[in-house]
């Protein structure tokens, strides 16, 4: 639509979205689980804050802690109760929330016990007993991720690296520094969990006589005296002092509110150990003790624990993906209600475009578009899909010249192990025994490539790397590598196969490199693909070429090669939903895939979502916002993604007519044509007419939203009609000459 009409529409739609939602931003929600249990358990807590409250809670959770679990109790049997995954016989990994096979105990790609408050940071207070085996504290963690985190302190990482699970390659957090002295920052949706666990451990295992209780704690309960001592938050939190450490944990406590997973877990551990984590039951306690707040004596009911509610729907963390061939993306499922089963079967409609694993990991296999479906195992009619578009990689480098002249390092790709290795030249530069090897040996010289015309020359130490036919000491005809002062041939690059090829033609026949053994008995390993054949004997002159699968890396400090020119970028996912407080990390796909894209991230509405410069999006409040990624140095190359933040607990709609109306309102499209805008509104109106009075109560917020959108539409109509009136008036003015 023309400029003025688009500006009217976008402004008013922002209002419409606000009108259509019931979110009230900024209010801290304190939730209490299992009201009946809580009422009884916390009967003796009379303090409203400070050290008095801290002391009372210490007494309570230590005296009710009547069963101290052993370290052995923290394995699969209990982990499946306290941290069940979405599928049977799986456990939920703490930092990523992915499912791990419960039987994969203490192996790479499997899981083991994570001391959230690391043993090495416990001031010597625990190893594998006391807090060291307290189920409120011990969580399943992916083994390699656990190792990476080591005993890093928790904190905020501003310039670190990403930490992934080793097999599923799911992001688990960020870290900087070593595993013994570094800092680990969990994802936003885990920060609150970490904070509340640390608060529990601090409150429980500081001995009652410590000054932190101000004399208000009187006992250590039934635990062995050796379990108790002195621990400070600065032992486990990266902060300048104790107050700063507390403030960070209070911040995380608010950023990531208590969720049903924590509530269920608190109940499960309670059933085993007979004590509870009070900071989950009433998250106002933390503020009241360390933040100057007061206890909310009657916090509203939180998510109801108990048997799982009937699954109503599922949604994926992405509804649209743009990938390059070979890219992967981990789709995850969120059920409605949140405590319903999220067990699904994953299905790809076209494996030639993208495959999907049992864990929801999508892998792009070929250019095209397809859909990935998640089908509930509880109710197969409940499904969610994501569209996957796979772009064909721009071949690079190409003989046509897009791969610019310069100096490059060859990286040799070994198909069998899928490990990229460098291509080195080893052996005497002056003798007759030459070879190419992939191992990094001492004094090995790297092979570099220079583009010449539509092919490449290879050089080692300034001399050309050539192949020639020769006769070895056994009288066999072989090919060998020589270094010469001039180049007699070219290496050509097959951009589809990504293979560097040498063809040496002698007397009309082609020869190629294989492995051979020199007179000293040293064998140079072949670096060619399995198609390579050897030349030996008088009849073994096979036709073929020597192929080295390679990729090119820019070498710094030499004739600066021009990197592959970035043409465009995509954000993945390009459309997604988050619940308030949830986080996800966006990725960038570059075209061509070998071009580098460094971007600046921004959010169109930071009251709805924020985005870090690592691409981590955090949902703040309900609404819709656009995330932009703009390339540094070229703001003409950019991409956008749309994110919708929903309420913590999506509205459960029972009636089908109400659901149909809800869907119709959600489908109103103001971004397309005027016709589509009007048509989608009309569809919603038709659905509205079918609502009963009871239905209307269920979807009252959607009715408000539709009314607001109708107001916007009619405003647009009035503006356009007014402009048409003005045009007619001028035209009639012109015709006034005739009357």
């Amino acid at each position: 639509m023309q400029k003025i009409f688009k500006s009217i529409l976008s402004f008013c739609l922002a209002i419409a979205v606000c009108l259509g939602t019931a979110a009230i931003c900024g209010a801290t929600q304190y939730q209490v689980a299992d009201a009946a249990t809580v009422d009884t358990y916390y009967n003796g807590i009379t303090a409203t804050g400070g050290t008095q409250l801290l002391g009372q809670l210490h007494d309570l959770i230590t005296t009710t802690h009547t069963y101290y679990t052993s370290y052995n109790d923290c394995k699969a049997d209990n982990a499946k109760k306290t941290d069940p995954g979405s599928k049977s016989n799986t456990v939920m990994e703490f930092y990523t929330h992915i499912d791990i096979d419960a039987s994969k105990w203490d192996v790479s790609g499997g899981w083991n016990r994570e001391h959230v408050w690391a043993k090495s940071d416990s001031n010597g207070l625990w190893e594998t007993s006391g807090a060291g085996s307290d189920l409120h504290h011990i969580r399943p963690a992916e083994k390699d991720l656990n190792n990476h985190r080591g005993n890093m302190k928790y904190g905020e990482v501003t310039d670190g690296k990403e930490e992934y699970t080793s097999v599923s390659h799911v992001l688990g957090g960020h870290s900087s520094g070593s595993s013994t002295t570094g800092t680990f920052e969990p994802l936003d949706n885990v920060k609150g969990d970490v904070a509340r666990i640390l608060m529990y451990v601090y409150t429980h295992y500081n001995t009652y006589s410590n000054s932190i209780f101000g004399g208000n704690a009187t006992t250590n309960g039934k635990g062995n005296g050796s379990y108790f001592g002195t621990i400070n938050f600065t032992h486990i939190v990266r902060a300048s002092n104790e107050d700063a450490a507390k403030q960070l944990l209070l911040k995380w406590n608010k950023l990531d509110p208590v969720d049903q997973i924590e509530i269920d877990r608190n109940n499960a551990v309670y059933a085993i150990e007979h004590n509870r984590n009070p900071f989950i039951d009433n998250s106002s306690y933390a503020d009241a003790i360390w933040g100057g707040g007061t206890v909310d004596p009657n916090p509203g009911p939180g998510p109801t624990p108990g048997p799982s509610d009937t699954l109503q729907s599922i949604r994926l963390n992405a509804t649209s993906l743009n990938l390059g061939v070979g890219d992967t993306y981990n789709l995850t499922v969120t059920p409605t209600p949140s405590n319903a089963s999220k067990s699904v079967i994953w299905y790809s409609y076209d494996d030639s475009v993208a495959t999907v694993s049992d864990d929801g990991i999508v892998k792009a296999t070929g250019a095209g578009t397809t859909a990935i479906a998640a089908i509930s195992t509880v109710n197969s009619s409940i499904r969610a899909t994501a569209t996957v578009t796979v772009k064909k990689d721009s071949p690079t480098p190409t003989p046509s010249g897009t791969f610019e002249a310069g100096t490059y390092r060859l990286a040799l790709n070994i198909t069998a192990s899928d490990i990229t290795k460098k291509l080195y030249f080893t052996g005497s530069l002056d003798g007759n025994n030459y070879g190419l090897t992939t191992t990094d040996v001492n004094n090995a010289a790297e092979v570099v490539a220079e583009k010449v015309g539509d092919g490449y020359t290879l050089k080692v130490g300034g001399k050309y790397l050539e192949l020639e036919k020769a006769t070895n000491s056994y009288g066999s005809t072989v090919s060998r590598i020589v270094l010469s002062g001039s180049s007699s041939g070219k290496w050509s690059y097959d951009s589809d196969l990504k293979v560097l090829t040498w063809t040496l033609t002698v007397n009309g026949k082609s020869y190629y490199l294989g492995s051979y053994t020199n007179s000293s008995g040293k064998t140079f390993e072949t670096i060619s693909s399995s198609e390579t054949k050897y030349i030996s004997g008088t009849n073994a002159e096979n036709v073929g070429v020597t192929q080295f699968p390679v990729s090119f890396e820019k070498i710094g400090g030499e004739v600066p090669p021009t990197p592959d020119k970035l043409q465009e970028i995509y954000i993945n996912p390009s459309e997604f939903e988050l619940a308030k407080g949830e986080s996800t990390k966006l990725t960038i796909t570059s075209v061509p895939s070998t071009a580098r894209a460094e971007v600046v991230w921004s959010s169109s509405d930071t009251s709805v979502v924020t985005v870090s410069q690592e691409g981590v999006v955090t949902a703040i409040s309900a609404g819709t916002a656009t995330i932009m990624a703009v390339c540094k140095g070229s703001d003409l190359i950019w991409a956008a993604a749309t994110v919708t933040v929903t309420e913590d607990e999506p509205v459960v709609i029972v009636s089908q007519t109400a659901q149909a109306f809800h869907n119709a309102v959600a489908a109103i499209n103001a971004k397309g044509s005027f016709t589509e805008f009007r048509t989608t509104i009309n569809t919603a109106i038709e659905a509205y007419k079918k609502l009963s009075e009871a239905d209307k109560k269920e979807v009252s917020s959607d009715i408000d939203k539709l009314n607001a959108i109708i107001v916007i539409y009619n405003e647009l109509v009035k503006v356009c009609n007014g402009a048409a009136d003005d045009a007619d008036k001028s035209a009639l003015n012109g015709a006034g000459r005739f009357v």
């Binding site: 639509m1 023309q2 400029k3 003025i4 009409f5 044509s673 005027f674 016709t675 009007r678 509104i681 009309n682 109106i685 038709e686 509205y688 539709l706 009314n707 109708i710 539409y713 009619n714 109509v717 009035k718 503006v719 356009c720 009609n721 402009a723 048409a724 009136d725 003005d726 045009a727 007619d728 008036k729 001028s730 035209a731 009639l732 003015n733 012109g734 015709a735 006034g736 000459r737 005739f738 009357v739």
Partner: protein, 197 residues
């Protein structure tokens, strides 16, 4: 009511001036001739106004003026976008049709829904003046030009627009006058005056 002249009178007047010797066929006089053509007795003039807001947002209005016995009869058909309410989904547009008569400076609505025709009475009308145009191509049968003074040309001081252009086809009388411009709101407007002698 404006004085309408017949074609022969116009030609005779110009010829007389030419004989006197004061009326050389310079540009200015050609524009005067165009104005004179506007004042001829046409039996019908149809004004079609097209407003384009987007590819699928176009409004077309038509005013058919017929002249007889000192009365101008206006048959009009005006499109406007329809508003929506929760009670009913709406069609894209509504069409307002009607008939009015203009006589003695007054408008009398005969049938149908009323639209505003006041500008027809109040407007001074089209005015071809050389200084209103630039890049003009003026021949014996056509004028194509950029309009640098839209308000003066249209006889409407309140008109605010950009890129107004005119393309008029004529012989002894006008065949068509097409005027296009971009309105302040960004919508593209076209006026088509079609003349029938």
């Amino acid at each position: 009511m404006k004085i309408k002249k017949s074609i022969p009178v116009i030609l005779a007047a110009c010829a007389a001036v030419a004989v006197v010797g004061g009326c050389a066929t310079d540009d200015s006089s050609k524009y005067d001739e165009l104005n004179a053509k506007l004042d001829l007795n046409y039996s019908k003039i149809v004004l079609t106004v097209t407003d384009k807001f987007d590819e699928d947002m176009v409004l077309t209005d038509e005013y058919e003026m017929t002249f007889s016995g000192g009365v101008v009869t206006v048959n009009y058909s005006v499109e406007r976008f329809a508003e929506i309410s929760l009670d009913s989904a709406a069609a894209e547009k509504i069409t307002i049709e009607g008939k009015a008569a203009v006589m003695g400076g007054k408008i009398t609505y005969i049938r149908g829904e009323e639209v505003s025709l006041d500008a027809l009475i109040a407007g001074s009308g089209l005015n071809f003046k050389k200084e209103y145009f630039s890049y003009a191509e003026l021949t014996d049968s056509r004028l194509k030009a950029d309009v640098t003074n839209p308000g003066g040309f249209m006889g409407s001081s309140s008109l605010s627009c950009t890129d107004m252009k005119v393309n008029a086809a004529f012989g002894d009388a006008f065949n068509t006058v097409t005027i296009t411009y971009t309105a302040q709101g960004g919508n593209e407007v076209e006026y088509l005056y079609t003349f029938t002698v």
